[in-house]
Amino acid sequence: MEKQGLGLGLEITELRLGLPCGEPVEKKEKKEKKRVFSEIQAGDDDDDENSSSEDRKVQTKNQVVGWPPLCSYRKKNTVSQTKKYVKVSMDGAPFLRKIDLAMHKGYSDLALSFENFFSCYGIREALKDADNAEHVPIYEDKDGDWMLVGDVPWEMFIESCKRLRIMKRSDAKGFDLQPKGSLKGFIEGVTK
């Protein structure tokens, strides 16, 4: 009961930085015991005497001013404030998704997102074998060119990526798609 309320209902409104698709099921079970802050706002039974004062303090549903106690300068300069949403399409999937690149730390992080989004469409299986991967991640850069994901450093990639596509290898016959460096790591990130 608590799991469902906490897992899906509140997560949508919860103001936090994380992958939009949420966490895998195993982690949700652990959350039961945690008194997530949003729980308190929702009016926990144990906290009756405090709940009215809690209401007064809370500005938006799940946000408390000045908590955690991190100075505003640091908040602005370390926690990623900028958002960089790009569309992600996968050949064979009926609809596209949007991903915030700024929320990811690197290529393997991105790969995990792909896995979360498209696992039902077989990306995991597809990328199991790096050399013979059936799908290849590509992106459209600022100049409108389609580039192979993984060649340039992550910061440069975020800067120039306009949209992503997970393409069938068969559509790229004849091109050198040998995974090197970051792309290999990318694929490994998915298949781990």
């Binding site: 008194r35 005497e49 000045g66 100075c71 505003s72 926690v79």
Partner: protein, 571 residues
């Protein structure tokens, strides 16, 4: 001692340097008070509203170095409304009018205007050092005035300030004749600086020991700067992004090999992880490493880096290092004294640090005395272990990101854990609590934390007894800041005399009422009791029974301040 001529006593006093010792000297007798005040060069004022600038100048005409702090600490967390106060202006105006030959000014949480900086730069010919920490209200124009007019400037150190960039070339305002710089830190500035001017400035500053760049300074400029300043001991890197195969990067790697005197490293405001290998050669010399703003470095890269840093005494990092990474720190950094672990996302990264990381550190780093630790969870068992392993804590600040979270293993409050800390660490001066806590923890603090000077409490306690335990027990308490705790009038009013022994008390979202604050103000005329009334309604009067949202009180000899904004009611 009274038979010695003044000159002899003065000479002896020269050896007494710390503020506390100096203060003690002045209390011995009238003649020592007199001698002390004329020979005093450095004054520290922890609350700029505790005294007027005129009185300061009158007592210490020989003043050379002044440290001022303005807003209360909780201003850092947006709890103090805009325009509350802490203005530098009246201080500079008063000092400028006087004959004080100010040479050094250190400010924290003050509102500094360009006009003040301009006046400062023109009024004191021997001005040498300006340090601004967490200040606001000025722009790069003010910095230009400092650069242009302070002919003997040695230090310009800007830490975590909000500075408006006016796109002027402030750095270019250092005249060619300025060759005295020892420390320059502009890491917090957002705008670009003239790279040519920067390089020339570095080239003509042979005494430059500390240089911290902002993110606009690219890698190739960094390389040229480091070539010009092989004597640097403290370096803050702005941008560290480059193609690893480029010539610029190879040149940088070679230059770094020549910089053997660097012992302190920070910045990496923009970083491509694969570039970090270039700094491995200087890591073994580092005693201080601050990567808390290096959001671009992932845990695995951090760990690789740390393995090279065997001499670290101070480490500031982000929680992406993880518990495993902290284990590596514990194994590698045996001399570690200060550790700060910051969250990489406001509600934390679930894969980040927990009590396990802290326990590992405590086992590997027995010299640890200062800690700031943001984590997801903490257990009593872990805190008890940490207390046993590290009895030398002076500063212990723990922030469990979920407020009110109990021990996840036992579901109990963290009273016993923190109790163990205060009982074991007899030299503890600063403590910040978090997690689920009852009145019991405050009983422990009152009983054992004899040296405690600063205590920060949030979402803790059950009744007035909690606050009373602290006020009664902690004899050396100077600053107490409380938010969202069920402490009310009884706790506030039981020992009103206590507040004159302290610098300040902050209480927000507690249970104190207007009436109690009024009573306190009446009984204690040498306290300013400020209530913030942020209600939009203009004509709302303060009724005694009304709960106070924010209260800040402090001892003062200056009386009610005249620069308070409308929402501040000094009772």
């Amino acid at each position: 001692m009274n038979y010695f001529p003044d000159e002899v006593i003065e000479h002896i006093f020269d050896y007494v340097v710390s503020h506390r010792d100096r203060n003690a000297l002045s209390l011995v007798c009238k003649s020592w008070y007199r001698i002390e005040r004329f020979t005093r060069q450095r004054v520290f004022i922890g609350n700029c509203y505790s005294i007027t600038p005129e009185r300061l100048i009158q007592r210490f005409p020989g003043l050379k170095s002044l440290t001022l702090k303005g807003k209360p600490h909780f201003a850092d967390f947006s709890l103090v409304p805009y325009d509350w106060g802490g203005f530098l202006c009246p201080w500079i105006e008063a000092l400028a009018k006087s004959r004080v030959g100010l040479e050094e000014l250190r400010l924290k949480r003050m509102v500094v205007s360009d006009e003040s900086l301009e006046l400062l730069s023109r009024s004191f010919t021997h001005f040498k050092s300006l340090v601004l920490v967490s200040c606001e209200g000025f722009t790069t124009d003010g910095l230009a005035a400092i650069a242009a007019n302070c002919r003997f400037l040695r230090e310009l150190d800007l830490q975590e300030n909000e500075v408006e960039d006016h796109k002027g070339q402030w750095l270019s305002c250092f005249p060619d004749s300025c060759t005295s710089l020892v420390s320059l830190n502009f890491a917090c500035l957002k705008g670009e600086v003239s790279l040519g001017a920067l390089e020339r400035l570095v080239a003509r500053s042979p005494n430059l020991k500390s240089l911290k760049l902002n993110r606009s300074v690219p890698l190739d400029a960094l390389q040229r700067i480091m070539m010009r300043a092989p004597q640097l001991a403290d370096l803050g890197i702005g941008s560290f992004v480059h193609d690893p195969d480029s010539e610029a990067y190879i040149r940088l790697k070679n230059t770094i090999l020549k910089c053997k005197s660097i012992t302190s490293l920070s910045g990496f405001l923009e970083v491509a992880p694969h570039c970090l290998a270039a700094i491995y050669p200087i890591c073994p010399n580092l005693t201080s490493l601050n990567l808390s703003y290096a959001a671009g470095i992932q845990g695995s890269e951090l760990i690789k880096l740390i393995r090279h840093c065997g001499k670290l005494q101070r480490l500031w990092i982000m929680d992406c290092i993880g518990d495993k990474g902290l284990g590596v720190v514990a194994m590698t950094c045996k001399d570690l004294q200060e550790l700060r672990v910051f969250p990489s996302a406001p509600y934390g990264n679930p894969a980040a640090v927990t009590e396990k990381g802290l326990v590992a550190i405590s086992m590997g780093c027995p010299k640890l005395h200062s800690l700031l630790y943001f984590c997801h969870q903490m257990t009593n068992a872990a805190l008890i272990t940490v207390a046993k392993n590290c009895p030398n804590f002076i500063r212990f600040r723990l922030c469990i990101l979920e407020a009110l979270k109990p021990d996840p293993d036992t579901l109990e409050p963290l009273d016993e854990g923190f109790g163990a800390i205060v009982q074991s660490c007899r030299r503890l001066r600063r403590l910040s609590l978090s997690g689920q806590l009852t009145d019991q923890v405050f009983l422990y603090i009152g009983m054992y934390a004899e040296q405690l000077e600063m205590l920060s409490i949030a979402f803790a306690g059950e009744s007035d007894k909690g606050m009373l335990y602290v006020l009664n027990g902690c004899k050396k308490l100077r600053k107490l800041e409380i938010r969202d705790c069920p402490f009310g009038n009884m706790a506030l009013l039981t020992d009103v005399g206590k507040y004159e022994t302290m610098r300040s008390l902050w209480m927000s979202s507690c249970e104190v009422t207007v009436g109690a604050c009024k009573l306190l103000a009446k009984k204690m005329p040498r306290l300013n009791v400020e209530i913030f009334n942020e209600n939009e309604q203009e004509d709302c009067s303060l009724e005694d029974g009304q709960r106070v949202e924010k209260m800040y009180l402090y001892r003062t000899l200056a009386g009610k301040r005249k620069d308070a904004p409308e929402y501040v009611w000094t009772l």
